[in-house]
């Protein structure tokens, strides 16, 4: 066995390895560069003048770095209130989904109650339905409650997640029963067992759930566009889409605004890269 792999290794090492790796780096390097170009170009444009951005021969390095474009963002659109709205929506939804989905997921995985199978089927069936099929009626409900243009309206349907419940049920159902039994014999009640024993074990799945919820909430466009029609009440994605149609805002300022809008999530991603990618790969769905 060792002979075989050693032979293969030396063969690769002597001839194949170096040149073929170089080729791989060329391919991945070109691909990676194409992935990065829009971001680099965005940064350059956000520091250029409007004339430089509209120059027929691209200006790859602006004459002066126009940091003023970034202050203009705050003057020309309600950026701070939109940022605040985005943060609040994302934090509340993530917290709510973690609490509600872990609890329900645990009950569906481990507890016995009447109609369990039917109820689980009902929740999971939502996963097969595209969001358009409930959007209009959700809008009617939110309108009926007087929540249009409010944080409550923006946040409401996203507090509950069939996907999160599915994810957490899968996590709990694969855990060993022994720990629970031991805690039960020690006289712990279901809440104590859930809180002290099961939740800590489910941490990887909880972080996967948190990542998907943060990404979804921060980037979502359709629902906020429908629920909020005043830019002051919109989160960032809807605010940006709205300001983009405004001809009085010049291109560099727009680039600065879009850069600022996606920066928090991008920075968080770069810092926690490995965990985010593994979390998304294991959850399998956005």
């Amino acid at each position: 066995m060792t002979d075989v792999s050693a032979a293969a290794r030396t063969r690769r090492g002597s001839r194949g390895r170096r040149p073929s790796h170089a080729l791989i780096h060329v391919v991945l390097g070109i691909g990676g560069f194409l992935m990065a170009v829009p971001f680099l170009w965005q940064i350059i444009m956000s520091l250029s003048t409007n004339a430089e951005v509209q120059s027929v021969t691209p200006v790859f390095w602006p004459q002066h770095l126009e940091w003023g474009n970034f202050t203009q963002v705050f003057a020309q659109m309600p950026f701070l209130s939109q940022l605040r709205t985005s943060v609040i929506i994302t934090v509340i939804r993530t917290f709510a989904q973690i609490v509600l989905c872990t609890m329900a997921g645990y009950a569906f995985a481990r507890m016995r109650f009447p109609f369990k199978g039917v109820l689980l089927g009902v929740v999971l069936s939502i996963l097969l339905v595209p969001s358009q099929a409930y959007l209009i009626s959700q809008y009617q409900i939110v309108q009926g409650l007087g929540w249009l243009n409010t944080l409550l309206g923006l946040v409401a349907p996203g507090l509950f997640s069939a996907f999160g419940t599915f994810l957490m049920r899968t996590a709990f159902i694969n855990m060993p029963r022994e720990l629970e039994e031991a805690a039960r014999i020690d006289g712990a009640n279901p809440i104590q067992i859930f809180w002290r024993v099961m939740l800590p074990l489910a941490r990887p799945s909880i972080s996967a759930l948190a990542i998907t919820t943060v990404l979804f909430s921060w980037n979502e466009l359709l629902w906020p566009l429908v629920v909020a029609n005043d830019p002051a009440n919109m989160p960032l994605a809807a605010g940006l889409a709205t300001i983009a149609g405004d001809v009085t805002v010049n291109y560099p300022v727009l680039m600065a605004a879009s850069l600022l809008a996606m920066a928090p999530v991008l920075i968080a991603f770069i810092v926690m890269q490995r965990r985010v990618i593994d979390g998304l790969a294991s959850s399998g769905l956005k």
Binding site: P38, M103, L128, A281
Partner: protein
């Protein structure tokens, strides 16, 4: 299920009493109130016509008749299918790139993963605004590059078909990384000694790719195909942000979901839009079903 039955036999209690409801009710109330009930209501709405001042009347299949008579439906469907087809070109590409990234002993793997994954986590609206500049007909970066090789680029975002192609390119660009990550997880499960044995037999790299990597990766590829098709059929954000809702080329470029949005929230015809929604729902259901049928033919499971 078996747990319930054996529990009933073994002990005096069949269920865990009130505790489960404490755990499950908060979520159930929300899911039923904000999802299950709205789906039922939307199905009902699709058979009604809404007055200008509120109130709706039952009009049977009138919305569906109008829907299927509307040429815009077929154009939106065609656009969505074309968009999906172009984004799907990214799947073989991502299989290839993921397998390169999986090369044992390769350096900078984390860095490449980061680059390929950036587009997926970036806010679609924000990055669409950048692409809008790149595709600009007068001063866009793309037309400048095309000019270097002697091609006079079109006005991408205001010309029929070119607008759709531009949006599709961005769709492909942003989905590539996620497909690669899912496929990368599948590649990790292929035993490395298969490659070592193939190498000893003198199989070339391309031969190894098509005889080992691809067949053993089919379950992951199938999963990626389903996710790509379903999410491509949801095209909205990129289209809305790249073209703008009032772009003159929009009627010729819009997707099914934009068609739904326009019906319900620009034309304010909620009954008709509900019919559009039910149509999209049914379509996605059929596509998923067909895929699972076809899966048995070519997915390698063991």
């Amino acid at each position: 299920m078996t747990a319930i039955r054996s529990g009933a036999k073994a002990t005096h209690r069949k269920y865990d009493g009130a505790w489960p409801w404490l755990f499950v009710l908060p979520l159930l109330i929300g899911v039923v109130g904000f999802y299950v009930w709205p789906i039922i209501q939307t199905a009902y709405y699709s058979f009604t016509t809404w007055g200008v001042f509120g109130g709706s009347t039952w009009t049977g299949g009138a919305n569906y008749a109008a829907l299927f008579a509307d040429p815009q439906l077929y154009r939106s469907l065609l656009n969505t299918v074309i968009y999906t087809a172009i984004v799907l070109l990214g799947v073989p590409l991502s299989v290839w790139l993921a397998s390169l990234l999986n090369t044992p002993g390769l350096r900078f793997v984390q860095f490449y993963r980061l680059l390929f994954f950036l587009p997926y986590v970036a806010m679609p609206v924000a990055i669409s605004l950048v692409w809008r500049m790149i595709f600009n007909g007068d001063f866009g970066l793309l037309n400048w590059v095309l000019k270097l090789v002697g091609i006079h680029g079109p006005y991408w975002l205001t010309t029929e078909w070119f607008a759709l192609i531009a949006v599709s390119i961005v769709g492909l660009w942003s989905s590539l990384g996620f497909s690669m990550i899912l496929l990368g997880a599948g590649l990790k499960n292929i035993p490395p000694d298969l490659y070592e044995a193939a190498e000893l037999d003198g199989a070339s790299r391309p031969r190894q790719f098509f005889s080992i990597t691809v067949p053993l990766l089919t379950p992951s590829i199938f999963f990626v195909l389903i996710i790509t098709i379903i999410s491509s059929f949801q095209l909205f954000d990129l289209l809305y942000a790249m073209l703008g809702a009032h772009n003159a080329v929009m009627p010729k470029t819009m997707s099914l979901v934009f068609y739904f949005y326009q019906s319900g929230f620009i034309n304010n015809d909620k009954g008709f839009a509900s019919a559009v929604a039910i149509f999209i729902f049914a379509l996605i259901g059929v596509i998923t079903l067909v895929q699972f049928r076809l899966q048995r033919r070519w997915v390698h499971n063991d």
